[in-house]
């Protein structure tokens, strides 16, 4: 990610973060499960606690974007934890689609082409690191 992209992600996240995490989580997971019903069984029946975890996790990753070392160690730990929950490398593209879709709807007019590109790069980088860590742990 370029410095400019990091700034765009952080700035747009600050806007997005003003939305109620329960609403963000509800929309994100509804989109994810509707498009990929088989992922539903990896999550608890009641999703409310999960909504807060989603925004907290994103908050934490985004706050470390400039600090590659800290971000990488957190991402590896996150990938290993998610592997235990049943997440597999092929799930990351499904999650990415639902996340970008939710961001686009939440940001509205602030979801510009450069912002979309920055988030796309950000997610590709983070998911790429998580997939690598998962593959290492799996093999």
């Amino acid at each position: 990610m370029t410095e400019e992209q990091i700034t765009l992600v952080k700035r747009s996240w600050k806007i997005f973060r003003s939305i109620d995490p329960a609403i963000i989580g509800d929309v994100f997971y509804s989109k994810l499960f509707l498009d990929n019903p088989r992922l539903r069984k990896l999550f608890p029946k009641s999703m409310e606690a999960q909504y807060r975890k989603l925004t907290d996790m994103l908050d934490s990753i985004i706050s470390k974007l400039e600090n590659t070392d800290r971000a990488t160690s957190q991402i590896i730990a996150l990938a290993e934890r998610h592997l235990q929950y049943g997440a597999r490398p092929e799930h990351y593209s499904m999650i990415g689609e639902a996340l970008l879709w939710t961001l686009a709807h939440g940001l509205g007019k602030d979801w510009t082409e450069p912002v979309a590109q920055a988030w796309n790069t950000c997610y590709t980088d983070v998911a790429g690191s998580m997939i690598n860590a998962s593959n290492k742990a799996l093999h």
Partner: protein, 121 residues
């Protein structure tokens, strides 16, 4: 379509909705049907429909609206229409209904996002 038994249609719709997401806390299915009727009456006035949908979403937020439900509801509606209309259901109708469902769900989701962001501000 209006000649179809509304009770039976609601039942198919609700079953499909709950099958997709058993944890659904859908309150009154009749409310969804009432809302749907109102939206169909506004199909030729999309500006008015959007305004009305936005107001509906903001009102329902006070009653714990889960905006993600409208994505499932749109899907359940398409499925119920396909079953109910049977041979009359075709690709052209599907695209038209899917387009309108997307407009409605996007408007509800964006209204919910905007309302809670304004509250936080």
């Amino acid at each position: 379509m209006r000649s179809v038994n509304a009770g039976k249609f609601s039942q198919i719709f609700l079953q499909c909705l709950l099958k997709q997401e058993p944890a659904h806390t859908i309150d009154v299915p009749g409310k969804w049907m009432q809302f749907l009727n109102a939206m169909i009456e506004r199909v030729n006035e999309p500006g008015m429909a959007i305004q009305q949908i936005g107001q509906y979403a903001q009102r329902r937020l006070k009653h714990h609206l889960q905006p993600g439900d409208c994505l499932y509801a749109g899907n359940a509606l398409l499925f119920s229409l396909a079953i109910t209309l049977s041979d009359h259901w075709n690709e052209e109708l599907r695209d038209a209904w899917a387009g309108y469902c997307t407009l409605i769900s996007n408007t509800i989701i964006e209204a919910a996002f905007t309302a809670t962001a304004s509250e936080a501000a």
